[in-house]
Structures are given as structure tokens and as C-alpha cells.
Assembly symmetry: C2
């Protein structure tokens, strides 16, 4: 399996093709899609061989992933994939509702024509990938959600939202693989959000977005294995 994808969260800070960058992206994807399981020990030597790079980039990538709450650093005992639990999932859901509500309203307050077009385009791309069963759907889904917040002029808040998105998506994969998502028809939810956004109706847009989160959340909560 290949682990060289796009969708860099730290694009602003890691935009080159360095070994650290590639390692960071690869490891993040491996964790998000569940190839590296929650609680699994991340041995430097093993990863070094698996990813064909030195120990330094691995170590540095793991440090960065620690910031994303996807990896935990333990004393002098190395790294492990962050644990999952029902409680953790619910916190992520709660925070997404709170933070994206703020970000969406700010984005709407600052909206521009260019931004509206970005929203429409990102939505279209997502829909196209969804009906086509494109593997890039996940990336485009995130792109759509982040596009909604595009005019929110609060970088730290957006970083939090991005982080929380990735933490959340991980549960989708853990629940039963990515495709499970499609069992639930979210198209109209996305459409409703976009309609309200384009109309500039913050209250409705936020309500639709949170409803979308909570429906997905309730759907996923029942599928979370063991723990919590």
C-alpha cells in the first residue's frame, strides 16, 4: 500500500518534499485510516524500514503528530498511536459543533464572491467523487467543509477545526472502513448547508452544519468498537 497522499494539514509549515514532510503525511494517513491501530506502539526502527527513511525524520514527524493529537509521546518510552474511546469521540463531536459554529458564522460575516465560488466548486468536486466512488472523496469532503470556513479570518481556530476533522474522520474508518459512510445519504445535508451558506443565512447554515455533525455522530457512535 502506498502512503503518499496530499491533504497536508501543516501545509503552511511543511510545504516541501523533505523526508520529514513525506513521513509526516504518510504516518498521518496511516493513523487516520486505521492502518496503524489505536494504542499501537510506534517503534522507530520498524517505521524506519517500512517508510525507507532515517530515524530523524520519523522522530520529527511523530513529534508533529503529537500536536495533532493523533500520537502520544510517553516518557522515554517512545510513541504510540492515540487511543480511541466513546468519550473521546463525543468530545471531538462536541468541540466540532462549538468551533465550527463560530468559524462558520465568522466566515459568513466576511463572505466574498470569490469564496462563494470556492464553496460551490468544492461541493461539486465532492459530489462528483462521491457518485463516482472516487478514492479522493475523503480529501474532497474535508476540502468542502474547510471551504465553508474559508472566510473565517482566524488561523488558530481553523487549525483547531482541521485537527478535529482529522480526529473525527479516524472514527469513521475505525467504525467499519470508509465506505460505510455512504450507507447514510448525506448529500442533501451537504446541499442544505451550502444553500444556507450561499444565502448568507448564518443561523440556518450553522443549524444545518451541526445537524449534519450530530447525525453522523449518532450514526458512528453506535459503531464504535469496544472501550468507553
Amino acid at each position: 500500500m502506498l502512503y503518499n497522499f496530499s491533504n497536508p494539514q501543516n501545509e503552511a509549515t511543511l510545504s516541501d518534499g523533505s523526508a520529514t514532510q513525506k513521513t509526516y503525511l504518510a504516518l498521518r494517513k496511516m493513523i487516520v485510516i486505521g492502518d496503524l491501530k489505536p494504542g499501537e506502539k510506534l517503534k522507530i526502527e520498524g517505521l524506519r524500514q517500512r517508510l525507507g527513511t532515517g530515524a530523524s525524520p520519523i522522530r520529527e514527524a511523530l513529534s508533529l503528530l503529537t500536536s495533532d493529537n493523533l500520537v502520544e509521546r510517553i516518557d522515554q518510552r517512545g510513541f504510540r498511536v492515540s487511543l480511541t474511546s466513546r468519550k473521546n469521540f463525543e468530545e471531538i463531536l462536541m468541540l466540532r459543533c462549538e468551533l465550527e459554529d463560530i468559524a462558520l458564522r465568522q466566515s459568513l460575516a466576511n463572505r466574498t464572491q470569490d469564496w462563494e465560488e470556492q464553496v460551490v466548486v468544492s461541493h461539486h468536486r465532492m459530489v462528483r467523487a462521491q457518485v463516482g466512488g472516487d478514492a479522493a472523496f475523503e480529501d474532497l469532503h474535508k476540502a468542502f467543509h474547510m471551504a465553508l470556513l474559508g472566510c473565517c479570518d482566524a488561523p488558530i481556530l481553523l487549525k483547531f477545526c482541521s485537527q478535529l476533522y482529522d480526529l473525527n474522520i479516524r472514527y469513521r474508518y475505525l467504525a467499519s472502513g470508509a465506505m460505510n459512510y455512504k450507507q447514510r445519504d448525506v448529500s442533501h445535508e451537504h446541499q442544505n448547508i451550502m444553500d444556507a451558506v450561499i444565502a448568507g443565512d448564518g443561523d440556518t447554515a450553522s443549524a444545518e452544519l451541526l445537524s449534519h455533525f450530530r447525525h453522523t455522530g449518532a450514526f458512528l457512535a453506535g459503531l464504535i468498537p469496544q472501550q468507553g
Copy 2:
């Protein structure tokens, strides 16, 4: 000047006396108190000599600080201290108001006797240090604020709050050194917050806390140098 202090934000993940841990704490303090200025380039070799350690721990500590939004990583051009601006300050203030409001209410909802005592004790320690001019005041001030949130059972949210606290305190130092803070009498504000918290009155406690933030914010905003 010495840079070996306590107040570890990543205490849960970096609790040993490793070189990385010490370097992380030292650098964080240096940035927060303004010894390393916003935008300043962080050359590995220079820090290596200044902190008496190898390049690896430096590099790893800088990666961790990137997660705290105190350091920026640039392409293949190394690290630099995060920039400051009026806009950045206002975002931090806004986010603190939003997030601590949530966290405080949750903390109150889960309150226990033991927690109430922790709040009282941490407040007392802070007051004692304040009147005594103790250098540890800053740490105790943070401890008090975090103690208020102690029963909020949402680790990610608490991590965000802790991060934002550190980002905010940096502006206090930048404005005119730490002691400036004392020009404003915040004792009664802290007292009001605590009283409401002990009374279990979430609305009042939150209102007092946010008022505290905003007063300090308005006070500091006028002192922020150049930029933004």
C-alpha cells in the same frame, strides 16, 4: 539567565528529565517571556551552544513548539519564533472567551468537593505570591485558571485552553514585561470568579471570567507594539 522552570504544558506526554524535555521547557519559556523575540530566527547551532545540548533535542523541541503555535516551521529554512500582531492577539482573546466559557461550565457541572478545595488552594497560592512579589506568580496564575477548569472532563478542550493561555501571556510580557500586569488590580476579579465558582453559579462565573479576560485584553491591546 536560567531557563529550567516548571509549568510543563505537555506534562502528560513529556514528564521525564530528558534533554528534549528540558530543551522544550527552556525554549518555551524563552519565547513566552520574550527573550526570543517574535520573528526571530531560531538557528540550531546557536541554540545548541546556548542550551548546551545536541541538535536532535533542539530540533525535536522546536517541532513540539510548532504545535503550541509558538514556533513556525518554514520550508527547508528552519524555525522561527511565531509573529505577533494585534489581530493574532484578538483571535487568542476571542478563542479564550469561547473555549473557557465552555470548559468552565462543564467543570462546574461536574464539580466535586475535592475540586472546590483545589480552586481555593490555588487561588490562595496565587494571592500569596502576588502580594509577596514572588517570581512564581505567573505559574501560579496559570495554575489557578486551569484549576477552575479542573472538573471539565474534556482533555482536548483543556489542551486548547492551556495553549491559548500561553499564547496570551506572551503578549503580557511583550507589552512591557510581566510586572506591568500588576498595575491593574485583578485581585477582585479573581475573587469574583472564585466566589461564583464556589457558589456553583455557572452564568455568573462565566460572566466574571470573560469580563476578566476582556478587561485584561483591552488593557493589553493598547500596549501592543508595532504591527497589525
